[in-house]
Amino acid sequence: AAALSAVESKYKVDEKPTPVKDVTTYNNFYEFGLDKGDPVALSGDFKPLPWTIKVDGMVNKPGTFDLDALMKEFPIESRTYRMRCVEAWSMVIPWDGFPLASLLSKVEPLGSAKYVAFETVVRPEEMPGQKGIFQSLEWPYVEGLRLDEANHPLTLLAVGLYGETLPNQNGAPIRLVVPWKYGFKGIKSIVRITLTDKEPKNTWQITNPQEYGFYANVNPAVDHPRWSQATERRIGESGFFGASRRPTLPFNGYADEVASLYAGMDLKANF
């Protein structure tokens, strides 16, 4: 990973960041395998550079953008976010990136665009989890946001963490970070972004619609069918003994910033 020059940002949670070793060795990235240790062990062949992202759909100025150019065009900010996985563990991660809104304003979404769909790269030769008879998920991995969620200032396209470009296992070279949603919304190694007027499906919703919805907002009051979401284990904090669980916060602690996006919505039905 190469060093990044990033400017400080006001978005910094006042909690101890998770050690970089844990952030880079404990990953869900099924393109490289199902175990948390697979992404770091099996992503060595993945070549994140050069990289382009295609932005299309309901926009005035569709295009294919070179990542290097985007990183020069938009100031890279250093932001520390909480990250809450749907599996009830959490981290605090110093990301480097730029707001998704910057890229979206560049392509000028049409008035009819209501949603943003995302797609991960498909490279079976470089991603062992996409190869073989036994495929865990349908590829490409896809995700989606409502346009107002996508344009929210907290929604980040991360290109680095801890001041360096993203390691392969964390979604190199560019990934989504939506800190008030469960981690699986943070689609990795993005190659395509499409503006649309229909609610896009996401991979986990396709795989198991009873358990994973479109919104996936962190919500301690709505349990996963197979486990409680009321508390979480903070990775790297407590080790083996006295692993204290901490309460999970509504919208992962970002309620002041984002709760208004969902005013009047039944969050139990829209999970």
């Binding site: 070793k21 060795t25 404990y26 948390k36 563990w89 197979r226 790297g236 080790g239 083996f240 006295g242």
Partner: protein
């Protein structure tokens, strides 16, 4: 193939059973050491919890494999069945203890909530509870006292196995290859057990042996 059963001189049989207990508990002890010395990765409690559950399933499958191994391959390892079954029980107890103490930090209300609301935890708890009477009666005295009731009681292991398989299958976001293998093996064992009486009565019919049970049957 029966040669395998006799490769160990009889005077070492009892020692080999004790050795099995020691060797069987080593994975738990070693992994506990790794966790306590911070060498178990980013999420050591979950890793240890899963590890103990997997070993419980392994010992469960080995326990269930003793009969088919004897019937089909002529390998007589009946003398290890009690140890294997008890090792399965010990691993289930440790698995539960880690969930209760290290994972849920003794938050009894959270655990009760889990058990009541979540089928996946319910199946696991059912397996644990059903294992208790089997573990308690895994001794020669109980076998003598209970007689034929003992055999009946210990058939619960097949229900326990089903609980374990369901618990494991429901525990993750996806069924992966590892789960297909474990669950598949357990289903095979259960199917074999259901088929066995039929096979035996056919055999009895052919040999005209009547309803004799093998004396070894009661020794497990």
């Amino acid at each position: 193939m029966t040669a395998l059963s006799f490769s160990l001189p009889k005077r070492w049989h009892s020692a080999s059973v004790w050795l099995l207990y020691v060797v069987g508990l080593l994975p738990a002890a070693w992994t506990f050491y790794l966790g306590a010395s911070d060498q178990l990765g980013a999420d050591p409690v979950k890793t240890f919890e899963l590890f103990l559950g997997l070993w419980a399933l392994r010992f469960l499958i080995l326990t269930l494999a003793i009969s088919p191994a004897r019937d089909l391959l002529g390998w007589n390892y009946l003398r290890y069945r009690r140890a294997l079954g008890l090792l399965c029980f010990y691993y289930v107890v440790m698995h539960f203890a880690v969930y209760m103490v290290l994972d849920q930090a003794l938050d009894v209300s959270a655990v009760i909530d889990d058990v009541m609301k979540r089928p996946f935890i319910m199946f696991g708890m059912a397996g644990l509870v059903l294992l208790v009477p089997l573990a308690v009666t895994s001794n020669n005295l109980s076998i003598r006292k209970l007689g034929s009731k003992w055999n009946w009681l210990h058939k619960l292991i097949y229900i326990i196995a089903a609980c374990g398989a369901v618990h494991f299958a429901l525990s993750t976001k996806l069924l992966d290859l590892e789960q297909y293998i474990y669950v598949g093996l357990i289903i095979l064992m259960i199917l074999y057990r259901s088929y066995r009486p039929i096979a035996r009565s056919r055999k009895r019919g052919r040999n005209g042996q009547g309803g004799r049970t093998r004396p070894a049957e009661a020794a497990g």
